[in-house]
């Protein structure tokens, strides 16, 4: 073999080794296991839960501007500007705050407050009627949305992690800034997942003003027909431990869900499931102040109600001052106690969410699809390879080698890039095989044509490759262009198709043209001058 050819052959073998060992490692545990270890299978092949959920980011905007309304009111007061009304007048435009009634003499001062760094995310404008509007800047809104989405993703990830799913995928999805994709391989029950993601535990502890009463009417009667403005009526859950009675509670809570630093499921001295919690330092101080002034031994003893999702779970007298450790008992089942402590640990989502898509593929169905898909693909490929051998004889070997090598490189690429093989991805593989065979057929037919035109064997091979190359280049680039666009604009499955296709076609340019040519050259070199080619 000439030096040049030896170098080329070495290059090909090198590439092959890189792809085989690069992704299979040192093969052990059989070919199938080795491949599966390195190629991610999509949920449609592996089984699992796939959820797409939408975060209602606009809620975060509403609550952010609500806060700013309150803050601005206070700031204007502090600056001695009185008589103004701060509010949001148009529910369609939650990003706009309107300040009216600013005395014209103080307008400059008021603008000074509103244009300060505290309100830098707003554009300030005063109109002819003297009203000043603060409109949140588009860039600030976009930031807020992104932050809301990211926080949601983090919260959801923390909750999912506690479900103990291996290799969950939680990521932004779609073109907008408000969708999240959750993929959980091996999980069968979407309802459980949805519950864990969605539930925001609204837990709070309130001071008890009065009760329990049998009904709302009784409660009203006991309070002379009026509920004090700083109080509210709350029902019990209606269980044996906490019957459906009514309590009058202080409206503002002493402790809220966000004040919890940790919460763990546990059991009380009677063996009933309960939740032990730890509060943040700040909330602990607050709680200590309250419980020490209302404990049994103090002059104003009181009791507290633990309210979960607007139902009273437990009412307890305050034995002694509590700082930051406590427990909640409330007729929980073991599961409820553990779910609730999970929710307390992970906090609330910044905005509510809704589900757009739920897909569950049972592992058996996934396995069946992949088995049948592989059987079909192998059968198809074998048939193709046998045909090539019969039809093109010696040259058929080139084509078959190129085809196998193409598949190896494709798998190697996918393993290396961490791409996921899905059902549509298999379509990509089929198109790759089709175009790989086509490249070889194009070349071989062209060589035959040149031979028919009386060219000598080496010239025919050379010309055949040269002519076919133009066509192969055009077909491949066209397809790669379209696959790239599909990747940019398509969604999950379409992207899977595009990735496989691009990898496959790049591999094919190498195997069908370069490798096949090297084999031809090697064969030609060993032949006598003028001997015919097996094609």
């Amino acid at each position: 073999m000439s030096k040049n050819l030896t170098a080329k052959a070495a290059f090909i073998v090198g590439i092959l080794l890189v792809f085989v060992f690069g992704f299979l490692g040192i093969p052990h545990g059989g070919l199938k296991q080795s491949i599966l270890r390195h190629i991610n299978l999509g949920l449609d092949l592996k089984g699992g839960v796939h959820l797409v959920l939408q975060v209602h980011v606009a809620e975060a905007l509403t609550s952010a501007t609500d806060h700013d309304v309150a803050r601005l009111e206070a700031d204007l007061q502090k600056a001695g500007i009185t008589g103004t009304t701060v509010g949001k007048t148009d529910p369609q435009n939650p990003e706009t705050i309107v300040v009216s009634g600013i005395p014209s003499t103080r307008l400059a001062d008021a603008r000074g407050v509103m244009e300060g760094t505290d309100y830098s995310s707003y554009d300030v404008a005063t109109n002819a009627t003297g009203n000043t509007t603060l409109t949140m800047k588009q860039s600030a809104i976009a930031d807020l949305y992104t932050r809301t989405l990211n926080t949601s993703i983090d919260t959801i990830r923390e909750r999912i992690d506690k479900l103990g799913v291996t290799e969950p995928q939680i990521q932004k999805y779609g073109l907008g800034e408000n969708e999240i994709l959750v993929e959980l391989p091996g999980v069968k029950d979407p309802a459980e997942v949805e519950d864990v993601i969605q539930s925001t535990a609204k837990l709070s502890i309130h001071a008890v003003v009065g009760g329990p009463y049998g009904t709302d009417a009784d409660a009203l009667q006991a309070n002379n027909g009026v509920i004090p403005p700083d109080s509210m009526l709350v029902h019990g859950v209606g269980s044996a431990g906490m019957p459906d009675q009514v309590w009058l509670l202080k409206r503002t809570s002493e402790v809220e869900g966000t004040d919890f630093r940790d919460a763990q499921p546990s059991t009380d001295q009677n063996g009933r499931p309960n939740i032990r919690f730890t509060l943040t330092t700040e909330a602990g101080d607050r709680f200590y102040k309250y419980t020490s002034t209302h404990s049994k031994s103090s002059s104003t003893p009181g009791s507290m109600a633990i309210v979960l999702d607007n139902k009273v779970r437990e009412v307890a007298g305050i034995d002694s001052a509590i700082r930051d450790n406590g427990e909640i008992t409330g007729g929980f089942t073991k599961q409820q106690a553990s779910d609730l402590s999970l929710m307390l640990r992970t906090g609330a989502l910044p905005a509510s969410i809704s589900y757009l898509e739920t897909r569950v593929v049972g592992p058996s169905l996934g396995a069946a699809s992949i088995r049948q898909g592989v059987i079909a693909a192998v059968a198809g490929m074998l048939a193709v390879m046998i045909f090539m051998l019969i039809y093109y004889k010696g040259a058929g070997i080139n084509a078959d080698l190129a085809l196998i090598l193409n598949l190896v490189i494709l798998l190697g690429f996918m393993g290396f890039a961490g791409a996921t093989l899905t059902l549509p991805g298999i379509a990509g593989v089929i198109l790759t095989i089709g175009m790989g065979v086509d490249s070889n057929v194009l070349i071989f037919e062209r060589i035959r044509e040149e031979l028919r035109n009386g060219k000598s064997t080496p010239v025919a091979v050379q010309q055949g490759f040269a002519h076919a190359w133009t066509t192969i280049f055009d077909t491949h680039v066209t397809t790669i262009v379209s696959a790239a666009i599909l990747f940019l604009f398509g969604s999950g499955p379409v992207q899977g198709f595009a990735v496989t296709l691009v990898f496959g076609l790049l591999a094919n340019l190498f195997t069908a043209v370069y490798v096949s040519r090297v084999i031809f050259d090697a064969v030609l070199e060993r032949k006598e001058r003028g001997a015919s080619l097996s094609i």
Binding site: T478, T479, I485
Partner: protein, 320 residues
């Protein structure tokens, strides 16, 4: 071994047959799309709930229906999954329309079905193999995205062909691919097979394949044009098609073989997908000869009738 030895078929002389053939299939498809089965979109695109149940023993279909009725599940359809091998005869797909999967009450339908099943079949046993719930918003989005992605990628191909050949080549190739897509979707409508996300992947495959086929013929036309500028275009196109004919038949035949294996052995999950490919390969091969190439000639004739010099034959030479 050789399949064709210097074939000499007058393809362009048969253009009226081709046109008739294409029209019949296109119109049949369009009529079905417009008046009969419309576009039989799967749950992926139109939204709704679809639950695949594998029973250990196939219960009476009426019994399943009754169980659903009793549980208050409305507007459902029950479809038995048939496998050509006859293995999986005790599987059914229970489908609920979009209204049961609004974005707010997302999985109310699934819960109702699961409850009805567990109330009635806890003894005989069943497994829920697959659940798909797609809210109306998501379905619409997926639909728009699939169409958008396809159109953009066609535009991309058009631009590339314009750059490498001439605009008319790009137009003709895209028109041919469009023709194939229309007929394939028509075939889905006529047979009332569901178009799902995987079917979209198959249609994209067919677009890629058909484009590939067309470019092979076009490339030969370009090459021949550079060699003999005086030959009438129709003869030259005929000759080009004939020269690439054995390649076309072998390549398409082999791809068809692979796809046929997928259709026969791929199982029912892949059924719609492989059906699209089987139809697509046939029609894609046909269209590169019978739609794309004649369009080039027709364009040329139209230009010379208007007294313009032929822009088309002055094809740029291959620059690779």
């Amino acid at each position: 071994m050789e399949l064709f030895h210097n074939p000499n078929i007058d393809w362009l002389g048969k253009k009226w047959y081709f046109l008739g053939f294409s029209l019949i299939f296109s119109i049949a498809g369009i009529l079905s799309l417009a008046f009969w089965h419309h576009i039989p979109l799967g749950v992926d695109f139109k939204g709704g709930t679809q639950i695949r149940v594998d029973f250990t023993q196939m219960p009476n279909e009426e019994h399943v229906r009754h169980a659903m009725d009793q549980a208050g599940v409305r507007d459902f359809t029950i479809q038995r999954v048939s496998d050509p091998s006859g293995h999986a005869a005790n599987k059914v797909i229970i489908a609920l329309p979009e209204s049961t999967a609004s974005d707010t009450a997302h999985d109310a339908g699934r819960e109702a079905v699961e409850n009805a099943l567990s109330a009635n079949y806890h003894d005989s046993g069943f497994t829920i193999e697959q659940v798909q719930i797609v809210g109306p918003t998501a379905g619409k989005q997926l639909q728009e995205q699939a169409i958008q992605a396809t159109l953009y990628s066609l535009l991309g191909m058009l631009i590339y062909l314009w750059f490498r050949f001439e605009l008319i080549y790009g137009v003709a190739a895209v028109a041919a691919v469009f023709h194939d897509t229309l007929i394939t979707i028509g075939a889905f409508s006529l047979t009332n097979k569901e178009i799902t996300l995987t079917v979209i992947a198959a249609i994209l495959t067919l677009i890629g394949y058909s484009m590939n086929d067309t470019i092979v013929v076009f490339d030969r036309i370009r090459e021949n044009l550079a060699l003999s500028r005086r030959e009438p275009l129709a003869d030259l196109v005929n000759r080009s098609i004939n020269q690439t004919l054995s390649r076309t038949v072998i390549s398409s035949g082999l791809t068809f073989l692979t796809v046929l294996c997928l259709y026969l052995f791929g199982g029912e999950v892949l059924n719609g997908f492989s059906f699209a490919l089987v139809v697509g390969i046939l029609i894609g091969t046909y269209s590169s000869i019978a739609v794309a190439a004649p369009m080039l000639v027709a364009y040329q004739e139209w230009r010379s009738k208007r007294g313009k010099t032929a822009v088309l034959p002055a094809a740029k030479r291959a620059r690779t």
